[in-house]
């Protein structure tokens, strides 16, 4: 590259002092400066700073490489007072440098010039990139946090009804509540203990998980809520914590679907899953139990009676007693059974739930 900045003849010794001062300033400023003859594109001045940045790079070639500037035609097209801005990437001492350029058209004594001002904005760029990548990191962290929170919420909703979850989220605690109008379903599998010994335990648990997942879908479909599973036992409720006018019918329908689901599943399968179900309508208390390992659970006579009735079920049978009869008899087929002595409840008439009067089966 020719170096017009340094090859220039010295300023005449008798030049006014401000002219000399001006030239010194042009050379020593932190801003890179170039003055170009617009017609011939010959540089009349390239100051020391700009030369330093350019190094071995030719000024004209460097300017031609700037995207969007259209340097070749600039001399012909740029009018007085017009400006263009662009950015030049250079290697200064083998390090990438970002140079912000401002090109303006100027006329002096009938001649047109292009004045190029250059600023090294590498540090600014660096900071900009840094902030970009930091913002991205934060965004990613936030997304992960949100996902984590959603996951935690889903887990909590597995062990407590949404209404209780919202209550805890809003005020930190949930108070035990009595529900009079509700129905409970208790299910367990016939001979489960023997099955688990006989089979591969992990495969058995996988099957159990399958079944319970299916039950969850069934109870949800009928407006019931799964309360918990204990081993092979499954417990669901309707009317807790949200009131449900048809709680008895909801539970009865869920029970029928569960039996039907198992019957279908057992067809052509080597492992036969047979359940007993007890259903009952009666008062329960719903509450969160435990502080660290907590669970939403229900207690009370409504629950206990359902458990006793379940024990009186034969394989694939659904048992209830007279408390539920008035609630179900118009819509369901009930078969009267014997009277039985139920611990804590005295003598009760048992019934078998056979199906719906208008539905399938």
């Amino acid at each position: 590259m020719s170096s017009p900045g340094t090859d220039r003849p010295a300023i005449a010794a008798d030049a006014p002092e401000f002219v000399r001062l001006g030239r010194t300033l042009l050379q020593s400023t932190e801003i890179g400066l170039a003055i170009i003859d617009a017609e011939s594109r010959v540089p009349l001045l390239i100051n020391r700073r700009l030369e330093e940045w350019l190094g071995d790079t030719d000024f004209d070639a460097a300017m031609a490489s700037v995207p969007g500037l259209d340097w070749a035609s600039l001399g012909a097209t740029m009018g007085e007072g017009e400006t263009r801005q662009a950015e030049l990437e250079l290697k200064v001492k083998r390090r990438a440098a970002a140079i912000a350029l401002r090109v303006s058209g100027q006329t002096f004594g009938g001649r047109r010039f292009l004045v190029v001002e250059a600023n090294n904005v590498s540090k600014l760029k660096e900071l900009e990139y840094m902030m970009e990548s930091y913002a991205k990191m934060l965004e990613r962290n936030e997304r992960e946090l949100r996902r984590e929170k959603e996951r935690a919420e889903r887990l909590l909703l597995n062990i407590m009804p949404r209404r209780v979850f919202e209550e805890i989220k809003a005020i930190g605690v949930s108070t035990p509540q009595r529900f009079d109008e509700c129905s409970v379903l208790m299910l367990d599998f016939v001979g489960f203990t023997e099955m688990s010994v006989a089979q591969d335990p992990s495969a058995l648990i996988a099957e159990l998980n399958d079944l319970f997942t299916a039950f969850d879908r069934i109870v949800e479909q009928f407006g019931c809520e799964r309360i918990k599973t204990i081993g092979d036992a499954y417990m669901a409720v309707s009317g807790v914590p949200d009131p449900a006018a048809d709680h008895a019918a909801n539970i009865a329908r869920s029970a029928l679907r569960m039996v039907r689901y198992l019957e279908r599943r057992n067809q052509g399968q080597s492992s036969q899953w047979r359940c007993r179900i007890g259903i009952n309508s009666g008062p329960v208390i719903g509450s969160i139990v435990g502080a660290q390992k907590f669970l939403y659970d229900i207690f009370g006579p409504g629950v206990n009676l359902a458990a006793r009735l379940e024990a009186h079920s034969g394989p694939m049978e659904i048992t209830l007693c007279e408390t539920m009869v008035p609630l179900l008899q118009s819509e369901f087929l009930l078969e009267e059974r014997e009277e039985a002595e139920l611990r804590g409840f005295g003598k009760r008439r048992l019934y078998r739930l056979r199906g719906e009067t208008s539905g399938p089966r």
Partner: protein, 119 residues
């Protein structure tokens, strides 16, 4: 460790360390050649994440990620040590206590196996 990032004043303070470290790396005869063809944006991005995560801020590089990033850079022991030295100097110059610097460096040393790929 997790507190160091916040102790120093979060991103505002750490950005000065990143900037200083960036300068030191590019001024180093051993380290600069590794970044000759690396785009400035990528290098700054990498160093921001690297330093933020070394100081216990957001973004952490898994060992697998470290291995992948450095797999084709042909890094030897001398370069790795030079990098540790520059980072240590940078941290010290920005008010990180010698004890914390020692911890950070030890943490980096523990991952040498994922970065050095040449004898």
């Amino acid at each position: 460790m997790a507190a160091l990032f916040d102790e120093l004043g979060g991103f505002a303070a750490v950005s000065r360390i990143v900037s200083d470290f960036y300068d030191r790396v590019l001024d180093s005869d051993i380290l600069a050649p590794y970044f000759d063809d690396v785009d400035m944006r990528r290098l700054v991005d990498h160093q921001t994440k690297f330093i933020a995560s070394m100081l216990g801020g957001p973004a952490s590089y898994s060992n697998e990620a470290l291995r992948q990033i450095h797999a084709r850079l042909n890094i030897d022991r001398a370069a790795f040590d030079a990098m540790k030295e520059q980072l240590g100097a940078s941290l010290l110059a920005h008010g990180v206590s010698p004890r914390d610097v020692t911890n950070v460096i030890a943490d980096i040393e523990a991952r040498a196996g994922y970065v050095i790929t040449r004898n």
